[in-house]
Every structure is written in C-alpha cells, then in structure tokens.
Amino acid sequence: MKPAPFDYHAPATIDEAVALLARLDGEGRDAKILAGGQSLMPMLALRVARPEILVDLRRLGTLDYIRDEAGTLAIGAMTSKQAAADSALVRRAQPLFQAATELVGHRQIRNRGSVGGSFAHADPASEYPAVALVLDTGFEAAGPDGSRTIAAADFFITYMTTALEPTEILTAVRFAPFPAGRRWAIEEFARRNGDLALAGVTVTFDVDAGLCRNVRIAAFGVQATALRLTAAEALLEGRPAQAAQFDAASKEAAAALDDPMSCIHASSAYRRHLVGVLTARALGQAAARPH
C-alpha cells in the first residue's frame, strides 16, 4: 500500500511544465501529471500505476480560477472541486455541472481533487465526462506547439484515455452558455454515498410549446467511456414533455446500449436495467424542476 519510488518535479510555470514533459517524452521516460492526486494517489498506492516521474502542477496557481468570459464559464484546471461546488457563479451559470461536482466523492476528496484532473483522468464511472458531453464543454490544452481547444465529443477516447498528448497539459475547461429555462438532471446509483457510480445518467433538454427540444442524454459507468444515448435522444426530440414519452425514451436508452460492462458489483444486465431506471428518473426530475 505504499507507492513505488518515483522522481518528482514541481515546475513553476506552464511553459516550464510543458518543456519538461516534452523533454521527458523525448527521452522515452514514463512521466505522469499530478494534479489533485485524488485518483492517481490510490492507483500509486495500489501500484496499478508505477510512473517513473511525477510532474506536480501544484505551483501553477494561474490555473486556479473560476470566471465569466463574456457568458462562457471558464474554470482553471487546478481549481478544486469544492471551490467549484461552492461557487455562486458556477451554480448560476452551470447548475448541472455544479450538481455533478457535489456528487464527486466526499468533501475531503473535493477539497484536494481538481476540476481538470477528473476530466483528464477520464474514469468511465466519473460524472464529469458525461456532463461534458451534454454541456458541450471545451478543453484547453497547452503543449509544445502552443495551446488548442478540444471539443468534448473528441476528448474522451476510451477507458482512462483522452485526446491529450503525453506532452500536453489540460489548462482550462469552458462551458457554452446554459440557456435560461433549459431542463437538466443527473441521477446515479452507487453502493454507498460518495462511491464511484455503478451507472449514472445526465440529461438536458428545452421545452418549447410543451415539446422536448435539443434533447441530450449521456450515461456513465456503463462502457469504457461516457456516451451519448442518441437513440433515446432521437425518440424524445420533438415529443411532448410527458411521462409516457419519458418512459418510452428510457426503455430505448436501456435497449439500445451496446454491451454494458460487467464487474463483481454489477452485471452487464443490471447496468442496462439501471440506465433505464436512471434515465426515467432524470427526465422526470428535469421536467419537474422549477425554472
């Protein structure tokens, strides 16, 4: 239960960090970025991960911010989850992201865990990637060739794998404005409060003249990465925002899932069942939420 030995660097600037990652990558060294450490540290302790070198971003105070950029909410990658959960700006501008953040772990974890870390870690059971898919989150990465923005749809590749290059650092996440009146919900099932979810579903949609528009449904904890449930979305699009339609969409959400993953805590069939139940709950809760 003790991490294997590693070398350690704590660069003082983003440029220094990027240059260091480029040098280490060039030398073929196995370096890993340490942000808040709340996912990486257990992996080190269990020796599931044994990197040669940790590059700690703790000195990059410039990546700790929450701000409104002309209607777009921007959060620095090293901002703590608790800071995001407590932020009045986040609550007002991105209520779904705020609610998802409160579902992550416990306060001790959220105090140290970073906003950027969970996106870059891309655990399939994490709330964040699914929320990013429905919210059109943009990921800003700094690398040797400057910075680039990656759309959520292109960011999550597979199990704990993102579009980030080994020489890149996630520096910020940006959320497209969340229209007033848009309905949202996130529902998950975990064995204990604060555990990673066995399965979860998040939804957003607008209601125009009683009809569902811009329906987005994403699931987490069921496959190698979070995924949009497009068949259920299509079924609900343009239909009345009513229980019978939500029921049909949630059945489709479960039925259309391609081979949900299985583990000792939840079989594939059980996860499929959960996605149906959670989709129905989320749609109903979103429709009922005062707005």
Binding site: Y8, A10, Q38, Q108, I109
Partner: protein, 164 residues
C-alpha cells in the same frame, strides 16, 4: 535513488523542515518523520478517512496527499485540537467522550477532524448535513449513531451563545 525533496510545513503551529522521498505520503510523514501518531492510517487508498487532517484549514485525506504536496502548507492534526495552554480537551473531543462517539478509537481522529471543518463551515448543521459530512469516514464499532450524537453535542456546545 529518487531525488529527495525539501518539505517545510507548519503542523499545529510548529514549523518542521525535512528532506523526504517524493513517494512519502503526508500521513506517513506526520507519523514517522514528525512522530505525530494521532493521524491514523487505515486503508491507505482514500476510502476509510482515518487519516483526515486539515491542510490550510481544509480537510484532506493524508494518505492521498504526498508530503511534498504539503510543502509550505499549514497542517492541523488531532494533536492540535487540545488547548495548548490549559491542556483541556477541545469541545469536539469532549463531546465524543460524553456522547460515546468512539469504542476502539481507531477512526476517531479522522471523524474529529472532519467534524472540525463541518462545524467551522456549518455551525448549526442539520442531521442530513452531518451525515453528508461524515460520509467519507468509516467506523467499524459504533454503528455511527453515537458519532452523530457526539457531533450534535459538539455543535450545541460550540454554538456562539445568542443574547437572551
């Protein structure tokens, strides 16, 4: 041999400087480098909460924090709860004694440090808020009810007295 790192921290008001291996956790640093054994180490991978301490006034799992990450920080451990001049127990400690909030005591330092942050942020917590706050700490003896009672008792005793 990995490069040793200099760590300077202030723990319960006392400054310490050590050279440590980067892989040393804050929990092991407190226990083995500083001989502060009050911070207990249970699961060592962030599940049980026994090692909870405050880092710059915010609760953290000391097993999920490297000592090097705490460089420059102020740490509060369970040893910092007692009144340094009188030696009197902190109201949270006294409430855990009076409320039978512990049996074997292994998890207790973590529960008390979690409670310290809770009551600083939420001086008059509801039962739901207490349960949510304590959700990251495991106890295998008490069945939790007496811990809830102890936290309520501490909150009651620590509440600033309101004018009649």
């Amino acid at each position: 041999m990995p490069n040793k790192q200099r760590v300077e921290v202030r723990v319960n008001g006392t400054r310490y400087v050590r050279e440590v291996e980067p892989r040393l956790t804050l929990a092991d640093f407190l226990r083995h480098e500083l001989n502060l054994g009050g911070t207990h180490v249970g699961c060592e991978h962030g599940i049980c909460g026994a090692c909870t301490v405050l880092v710059d006034e915010r609760s953290a799992r000391a097993c999920l924090t490297l000592a090097v990450q705490a460089d420059g920080c102020g740490i509060t451990t369970v040893e910092g709860l007692r009144d340094p001049s009188s030696g009197a127990l902190h109201p949270i400690q006294q409430a855990f004694v009076d409320g039978h909030g512990l049996q074997c005591g292994f998890c207790t330092p973590g529960f008390m440090m979690t409670t310290l942050e809770l009551l600083r942020c939420t001086p008059d917590p509801s039962e739901e808020q207490i349960k949510e706050a304590l959700g990251g700490n495991l106890c295998r003896c008490t069945g939790y009810q007496s811990i809830l009672d102890s936290v309520k008792l501490a909150a009651q005793r620590m509440k600033p007295s309101t004018p009649a």
